[in-house]
């Protein structure tokens, strides 16, 4: 792998980067659209006829300007792994330009809107695109070095400040990501605004990661784990006080949280123990149905009303029992076949729930009217006043779910670094070797299923009360695949990965209403592309990363040897 030929682009690296950066800056100062589109003028005064103050850049034009400047800085300042940084920023610039160009042409502008019409010119998107592509090429020309490791040591207070600032920035980015483009359909160009912000954020994040900052922060937070966990929790609880603090986003964030908790549970089964589970959402469904039956809803068959904590524990236990049952074939079945067994169990659950088995699920009528949770007389779905600050409705659910996610994370982290977790990882790597080392593999595998299912059951119980209605429709095969995709997209075995994956898969549909029809198609395509280009996920677990890269090297070596033979 090391004796890679120097790229033919090598001498062009810097000039291309310089040109790309300059084009980025120029693009930000140009108009982007020649005429007013049907749905109104393009955001940030980029429509030619409203283009009165070229230097007052806002929104996506500000992002383009920033990317251009950053490319220039990265090209000429001494930057570690310069090629990676320039390439990442180039991708960001390309993405922002391309997204705007596509949206403008598709939203009724046609190609004339981004080029010239009646002697009027608006080349912003094209200039930006050329700049971005040049920067990507420049990145390859300069050379893609491995990500640097920052070695300098910090005293504890300084480290705390750095961590605090970084996590605050994350909070700001999350709030901005949620609120850009506004809620639902209030802005006709919401999708474009959101996606171009995503492109910008992705480019900057890629650059930070290329420069070694992301790795440095993760090492730092690993060293000060307790402090980081507290800060992260505080940041998460601070979200209602930001721009995202309205009922809509609280609901979305709470839903993401529920799926994130479930995804972490699935991560135990798939990520740690390496057992592919294609029917996992059934456990969430079982938890939700149990909680619904004990909630006192009119449609529930069991007439007993239990307080939520008790019902939640029962839900988790029952889901866990089912988990152990589903897991028991693992004693005899391995690999792909196990995946099929879990799929079969998932389908049996869906079918039985649809047919109202034992009168417990109410079939396709669902169980509606589950009362919301309440604590000290405060109903969780109402708004809340803390002194002078009025918090949006649903904030209590959000808080509850943040705490739930935190609890699930704690369980996961403690398990992962315990004797049990090590046993799971050993089983994942080589089951026979693990058994030879004295691990009771059967017991361990069933335990993985049991704990994973319990966490899903717990999440399901919260889901039932938060949504007020439980239907088998929410727990079908596609949901299992989506959860699995969240785990894989984030990075198997990694906690932040599962949260990020769940967030992406459940926030993107909210944002991309324009693509409502294409949502699942894009999802399928994304699964294919992730497996092809980044099978380790966005935030890979360190251990897993090492293993996958090692394997890739081995394969490359084999291919090399074979090529020599031939």
């Amino acid at each position: 792998m090391s004796d890679r030929k120097p790229s033919a682009l090598a001498p062009l690296g810097r000039p291309f980067a310089a040109l790309g950066g300059v084009l980025g800056i120029v693009a930000a100062l140009l108009p982007w659209v020649t005429f007013k589109l049907n749905d109104g003028n393009w955001p940030d005064k980029s429509t030619l006829q409203f283009f009165d103050a070229p230097f007052a850049v806002t929104g996506f034009r500000w992002h383009v300007l920033l990317l251009g400047v950053l490319i220039l800085v990265a090209a000429f300042a001494p930057t570690p792994s310069k090629g990676r940084v320039v390439r990442a920023l180039g991708w960001g610039l390309t993405a922002v330009s391309l997204i705007n160009a596509i949206y403008i042409t598709v939203k009724g502008g046609g190609l004339a809107a981004i080029t010239a019409l009646d002697g009027e010119f608006a080349f912003g998107s094209i200039v930006g695109l050329v700049g971005g592509v040049l920067a990507i090429l420049a990145g390859y020309g300069i050379g893609i070095e491995p990500v640097g490791v920052w070695k300098f040591k910090l005293s504890t207070p300084v480290a705390y400040v750095v961590l605090l600032a970084s996590f605050a920035a994350v909070l700001y980015a999350v709030a901005a990501l949620l609120t850009t483009g506004g809620v639902g359909s209030s802005n006709p160009y919401a999708g474009a605004i959101f996606l171009s912000f995503l492109g910008f954020a992705g480019g900057v994040l890629g650059a930070l990661s290329g420069v070694g900052y992301v790795r440095w922060i993760s090492v730092l937070s690993e060293q000060h784990r307790v402090f980081s966990v507290i800060v992260l929790l505080v940041c998460a609880l601070a979200l209602p006080f930001t721009d995202a603090g309205n009922e809509y986003w609280m609901t979305v964030a709470a839903n993401i949280g529920i799926y994130a908790a479930t995804a972490i549970g699935l991560n135990i089964v798939v990520g740690l123990a390496g057992l592919l589970d294609l029917g996992y959402v059934a456990f969430m469904g079982i938890g939700a149905l149990v909680a619904a039956n004990f909630s006192g809803a009119a449609a529930a068959k069991i007439g007993i009303t239990l307080p939520f904590p008790v019902a939640a524990v029962i839900s988790a236990v029952i889901a866990g029992l089912f988990g152990a049952v589903v897991g028991s074939p693992t004693l005899r079945v391995r690999g792909d076949y196990l995946a099929i067994v879990t799929l079969a169990f998932g389908e049996i659950f869906t079918r039985s729930a649809q047919n109202n088995i034992g009168g417990l699920t109410n079939g396709s009528n669902a169980i509606p009217g589950i009362p919301p949770l309440s604590l000290f007389g405060a109903e969780f779905n109402k708004s809340l006043s803390l002194g002078a600050v009025k918090l949006p409705a649903g904030v209590l659910y959000y808080v509850l779910i943040v705490l739930l996610v935190a609890a699930v994370m704690t369980v996961f982290a403690n398990l992962k670094f315990s004797r049990i977790g090590r046993a799971w990882i050993a089983i994942r790597e080589d089951e026979d070797a693990a058994r030879a080392m004295g691990i009771r593999t059967g017991k361990m595998k069933i335990l993985a299923f049991l704990i994973g299912a319990m966490l899903a059951g717990l999440a399901g119980a919260v889901f039932a009360h938060k949504n007020g209605t439980v239907s088998y429709e929410s727990f079908k095969f596609l949901e299992s695949v989506t959860l699995l995709a969240a785990v894989i997209l984030g990075g198997m075995g990694s906690i932040p990965g599962a949260v990020l994956g769940a967030a992406l898969l459940f926030v993107l549909p909210e944002k991309l209403r324009d693509f409502e029809d294409y949502r699942l198609m894009i999802f399928g395509l994304a699964l294919i592309l992730i497996m092809r280009f980044r099978p380790v996920g966005l935030i890979p677990d360190a251990h897993r990363r090492a293993e996958m890269i090692e394997r890739a090297d081995e394969n490359a070596e084999e291919a090399h040897v074979e090529a020599k033979k031939a």
Partner: protein, 304 residues
């Protein structure tokens, strides 16, 4: 008694349909050990391909079934083959040396993608679409049993094609290459077999059989929908596992058993047809747990 006989006949027809799809699963798994989840969608796509072919035909040909029906088969099979080849080339081939989980997840992705592509791009695909009446009409009656002629045709096609396939794999040069690749791809390569060609051919044969099944499904049930691929695909996969994955004979016999379980359980088990699906999965789980090599498979047998 007559109910039992009738349900047995219905089960055989269902089994014949499942067998055509199960062959694709079993062959692909035999050669590259991939559970090609998207194979059920190939079957679904071919059904829509046949329907589209019919819609595009001029009116006078539409009225002559003897011409329209073969053209529909041709169209459906062609669509299935094109989809399967593209999917092998761009989704599965790059992952041949990846960890086992990766291609399985890719297959799920392909499956979702194909289903959605048809839903979004095929006109009116969200509703059940009626299938053209170009098939032989009427029923074949034998004592108390009455089966549509399309059902009889389905059984004949299914059994006939699987015998042809079995002979091809056992007797022809390419069949020998397939068996060699299934046994040991590296050695097969040294013997001058091009594994890429063998694998593509496997996908093509599987897709063609699924194409036949897709058209016959429309003819037998008179309407098609986008969910048919996933459901029938799962049945077919179950059949392949039941028979012993990798074995042609096993897949066909497994498929007939699954078809019989479906109709008989729907008739005689508690819950009726609402739960027939569940019984198939119960059988699947029991087979995987107690005889994972299937009825006709041996743990290390020669596959293909």
């Amino acid at each position: 008694m007559s109910v039992l006989l009738q349900q047995l006949a219905n089960g055989l027809v269902q089994g014949a349909l499942i067998a055509l799809i199960a062959l694709g699963y079993t062959m692909v798994y035999g050669i590259i050990q991939l559970i090609n989840f998207a194979h059920g969608e190939v079957f679904m796509v071919s059904s829509y391909g046949g329907l589209a072919t019919f819609t595009l035909l001029p009116d006078d040909i539409k009225k002559t079934p003897a011409v329209a029906l073969p053209l529909m088969f041709l169209g459906g099979i062609l669509v299935a083959i094109v989809v399967a080849v593209i999917m092998e080339r761009f989704a599965y081939r790059p992952l041949r040396n990846a960890p086992r989980l990766a291609p399985l997840i890719t297959a799920l992705g392909v499956s979702v993608f194909l289903q959605e592509a048809v839903r979004v791009w095929y006109p009116n695909a969200t509703a059940n679409l009626p299938y053209p009446k170009v098939f032989p009409e009427g029923n074949f009656t034998l004592g108390p049993i009455s089966v549509q002629w399309t059902g009889v045709l389905l059984v004949v096609l299914s059994v006939g094609l699987s015998i042809v396939l079995q002979t091809y794999i056992n007797k022809s040069r390419m069949g020998r290459a397939m068996r060699a690749t299934a046994q040991d791809p590296d050695t097969a390569k040294l013997m001058g077999v091009n594994p890429d060609r063998v694998i593509v051919l496997t996908f093509i044969i599987g897709a063609a059989l699924a194409g036949v099944a897709g058209i016959m499904f429309g003819g037998y049930l008179n309407n098609i929908n986008i969910d048919m691929g996933f459901q029938t695909g799962i049945f077919a996969f179950t059949a392949a596992v039941l028979g012993g994955v990798g074995s042609i004979r096993g897949a066909v016999i497994g498929a007939f058993i699954i078809g019989l379980i479906k109709t008989l359980a729907g008739q005689y088990m508690p819950g009726g047809t609402q739960y027939d699906y569940v019984w198939i999965f119960v059988v699947l789980i029991l087979v995987l747990v107690f005889r994972p090599q299937g009825l006709f498979g041996e743990p290390e047998r020669v596959r293909a």
